[in-house]
Symmetry: C2
Subunit: 87 residues, 2 copies
């Protein structure tokens, strides 16, 4: 399965969330990571993130794409944060 993760968390927890997510996924933009995961790794990632975030304040959104990935990715403006572009 291919997963896109977008986080929106309090600045106090950003570095922890990012560090954890980067163990599993590639960082592509300030608040966006993506990558191929097994179901087991995806569950593990979510469990680890749930331990970090404040569920009343933070939000982490996942898009699960099956094995197909996406057709293409485009960006306008500057490339931020993510140094792990694979294309």
């Amino acid at each position: 399965m291919y997963v896109i993760l977008v986080y929106d968390v309090n600045v106090a927890r950003v570095s922890k969330v990012l560090k954890t997510a980067r163990k599993y996924l590639h960082w592509v933009q300030n608040s966006v990571l993506e990558g191929e995961l097994t179901e087991a790794s995806f569950r593990k990632l979510k469990m680890e993130l749930e331990r970090i975030i404040d569920r009343e304040e933070d939000s982490i959104l996942f898009y699960v794409l099956g094995s197909q990935r996406y057709t293409r990715r485009e960006i306008i403006g500057v490339r931020k944060g993510g140094e792990e572009w694979v294309w």
Copy 2:
């Protein structure tokens, strides 16, 4: 085509970016919108956004999924911003 948009722009331009993007897409999280678009509408959306953003400072990322959409969407923590969940 199905488009997921993630913006990361200076707070001074957030409301303009959001207002423009919402003419074309559904707002699903603080900085995330998505929806079905024609190629022509997608080009128009990008042109409008390019007129608003500062290309040296702001960043807008698009995932283009073809007509397939995604397998599923999951969220942990709070649902933020987007009041346009369609599921």
